[in-house]
Symmetry: C2
Subunit: 206 residues, 2 copies
């Protein structure tokens, strides 16, 4: 999944089969730089230096820093997803959907990358909240819609337009990721995530 390079916004080109660039090494370096200097301070030149690759090599995979940042968010999302899914022991589709969603909300909310962007470059997130879906959001919607369809098939999720149900769940999830820390104190976030579990359980129940 990772090698497809689906980005937070604009995906970079898929990796070529013979591409020898140490992808994770570059993304690790980019991650460190964003934590240090923020998104706006990130340059391809600094990134090449920090990752110990040539600029030409870097440009063969990513046209610009936006492409790198997109892949960085996608990698974090996929790692969080894999971690959460590993921790789920099974159940019907609704149980799996709710546990996956709430687990991801908790993990993504505390990603150092996201915390730092919210702190230093909040305007980066504004278009995804107010104007258009990024490719990560579209991927999340595809995964969610598949789970909702599974649940409608196994009888654990109520009938209804899957696209609209998906949007409702995804709106909740992103609000609980991004805005929850604005509305409650840090100590109350766990209690709030329990509310999200109750809300989604009850909402999706047939």
């Amino acid at each position: 999944m990772l090698s497809h390079g689906q980005g937070f916004d604009r995906p970079s080109q898929p990796l070529r089969a013979h591409n020898a660039i140490p992808r994770d090494q570059v993304l690790d370096a980019a991650h460190d730089l964003v934590i240090e200097v923020g998104l706006r301070g990130l340059t391809m030149a600094d990134l090449a230096r920090r990752a110990d690759v040539s600029r030409a090599t870097l440009y063969r995979t990513w046209p610009n820093v936006n492409g790198v940042v997109a892949d960085l968010f996608t990698r974090d999302f996929h790692r969080a997803l894999e971690g959460v899914v590993r921790g789920i022991s099974g159940g019907d589709a609704r149980t799996i959907l709710v546990a996956t969603t709430v687990g991801l909300v908790r993990e993504i909310r505390r990603l150092p990358l996201l915390r730092r962007v919210i702190e230093l470059d909040p305007q980066f997130l504004t278009p995804y909240i107010l104007h258009r879906r990024g490719s990560s959001t579209r991927e999340q919607a595809r995964i969610l819609e598949g789970l909702i369809r599974d649940g409608q098939n196994d009888g654990s999720i109520r009938a209804g337009d899957t696209a609209v149900l998906t949007a409702a769940v995804l709106l909740d999830a992103w609000a609980f990721v991004l805005t929850a820390p604005v509305f409650v104190e840090e100590d109350d976030l766990d209690a709030l995530d329990e509310e999200l579990t109750t809300m989604l359980e009850r909402y999706l129940h047939p």
Copy 2:
């Protein structure tokens, strides 16, 4: 309620008893200007001219354009609230809370002022989504928390920490105001608002 001048962010000073400024006339002029030139184009000089008051008069009530904009959002919010509440025929506290919340979401989402800010000055909203509560959000939380307490008293809303339940409902509401148009087509917004009704009904039910 309006005369207290609680703002979207920083409330302006409460009006003095003998203040003769034609408040609504100024806010109407400010509304027209924001629709025409956006928040960033709004100046006290233009506003005084358009509202046909002296700059000195304007400054007696508002220290700067931010104070005017805060009161403008608050006036729109109160008008929407009054309109929605008038249309509600009664019921238990949960029924009233859900109808009020979903009605307000629908009205606020299509406010010309908000649409224009999302279009021209989206960065204005970023701090309220990612960093801190504005005074309008605090007022909304107070109203919601009162309704939740009423519902816990009349048995129509389940037990639980009222502050956390309030945050959960308010997170949903603002996500459905701001981000819903990003996630679904315009034609699906009514269907999505029905999902919000179902979600809040089921979530708050004892």
